[in-house]
């Protein structure tokens, strides 16, 4: 049952600069990597990754447009509409895995760190532009023994991109799989690094989305629906996509070169 529901916000948590988590109760099973369609009446309805999958669910919003701005301004007791959770989430890898989050992509991968339930089989790499955008570091440390942090400007941890940091990590340690979410440019280079080190990966992709439930086709990449066939795809699937990092669709379905 994914149908339209209205939930009351229990808690609003500021996470970082312009980044806010909204917590609400919803009695539905959500897997790491899945997303909700979140409705702010009179504004818009947008896809948001699940950042907490337990009984008290969460979404974590970065202010980028009108919908995310409206969501960021909500208070405890306010209501939002919810559909979902939708999509193919992260599958629990066999063996040891490295979870990589870039920017607000950290919110989407954090539940994947927690699904391990064993601090020794999952390591974490979190990256952002600067220290104020590194979120959920403590949550990651509660679920993993090795949490690496990078910032583009060097204000926290490794000075450089998260991909450069992961390249270093993969030189020293071996993993059975890499799990990642972040900007497509980051995922593009991360996939190259994974291939170089011979590691399979699962990555969460993003495209302009309308219906969210596999019907309308707005979010397709190479014929695959990001909302229903994804948003998580294996690296081997992404490698075959001609549009990955090259092109996306606008609201009318026109192909736009990236």
């Amino acid at each position: 049952m994914n149908g339209n529901e209205v939930v009351t916000i229990k808690e609003v948590v500021p996470e970082g600069k312009g980044i806010t988590t909204l917590r609400f109760e919803l009695d539905r099973t959500a897997r790491p990597g899945q997303f909700f369609m979140v409705w702010v009446p009179g504004v818009d309805e947008v896809p948001m990754s699940v950042s907490y999958t337990g009984r008290v669910k969460g979404i974590t919003v970065r202010e980028v447009g009108t919908a995310t701005k409206a969501l960021s301004g909500l208070k405890g007791g306010d209501m939002i509409g919810i559909r979902g959770p939708y999509g193919r989430g992260f599958a629990m890898p066999k063996g040891k895995f490295l979870v990589v989050g870039g920017g607000t992509g950290i919110a989407a991968v954090l539940p994947a760190v927690e699904m391990a339930d064993d601090k020794d089989i999952v390591d974490v790499a979190l990256g952002a532009r600067n220290a104020s955008e590194i979120i959920f570091e403590e949550r990651a440390e509660n679920a993993s023994n090795h949490v690496h942090v990078s910032t583009d400007d060097g204000t926290r941890g490794f000075h450089g991109t998260v991909v450069a940091m992961v390249d270093d990590i993969l030189k020293k340690h071996s993993y059975d799989q890499v799990i990642a979410c972040g900007p497509e440019k980051m995922l593009y280079y991360l996939l190259e690094v994974c291939k170089k080190h011979g590691v399979e990966s699962q990555m969460s992709l993003e495209r302009f989305m309308k219906c969210g439930s596999g019907l309308c086709g707005s979010c397709v990449i190479d014929g695959k629906r990001v909302c229903a066939d994804g948003p998580v795809f294996y690296g081997r699937e992404i490698s075959d996509m001609l549009e990955f990092s090259k092109a996306k669709r606008d609201e009318a379905g026109r192909l736009i070169k990236l």
Binding site: M37, K210, S213, G223, R254, L255
Partner: protein
Amino acid sequence: MNRLKVELAGLELSNPTMLASGMMGETGMSLVEAARNGAGAVVTKSVGMEPRTGYINPTLVEHDDYYINAMGLPNPGIADYGEEMASAIKGGVPIFGSIFAASVSDFAHLAGKMEDYGASAVELNLSCPHAKGYGMEMGIDPDIVANIVKEVKGSVSVPVFAKLTPNTHRLLDVAEAVQRADGDGIVAINTLKAIAISVEFRRPILSNVYGGLSGPAVKPIGLRAVYDLYDRVDIPIIGVGGVETWKDAMEYIMAGASAVQVGSAVGRHGLGVFGEICNGMDSYLEENGAEMMDLVGVAHERK
């Protein structure tokens, strides 16, 4: 031997399942995906003269037994759609080019383009219930429909199908008008005009207020429409509305449909639904020593 094969309006389909219009068909590659998953033919998203972004979200209401959608006919426009058709053709199944327009001459222009792009047939969207000036607003008037069909027939050599709306008491009159104007087939039904209200927010959920109801909830209405149409017209009928299983499809065939389109089930059950429907129908045909075409309209023999 392929028991599932059907023939309609001179087109041969390897099986009677088709991807319905509006389902994923904005891009060529997703039509290819549907074909790879077993659809006997695919219908494009409805394409118009100019690019359209459609309505702002919410554009979909989801419920256990139905969807209500008001996408607002988003499409890249006919000029850009050539590129999508070029990749769609790689699917290797007949493509029905769905078009919508506000004037007879635009319909004719769009149909010609679809034929140039390689469409095996044209499907006229005379039935979208939620776009002002298009679809259903024209499709409930038999004279307007006859004019559109006649003009389009004069501008293409591929078969022309009219997709009709159930939101009128004149469905059968409109279908007769299609036949009179030399239309090659009827597609029925499009969605039923509907709304949903959020009690908590005390307002309609869809940004457009009105949308189209689809999914299992509309199947009995689609079946009734096809059953009645089979009595009234001689041209082939394609049944649409709530098909999810092989038995749903078979009901439509026995009511008089030569093929069925699958829409909402693709969202509810995934693209594997085409293969499942075909396997189920094939077993039934094998057990009964029948071929698909033998069963079209058989329910009319025993009333």
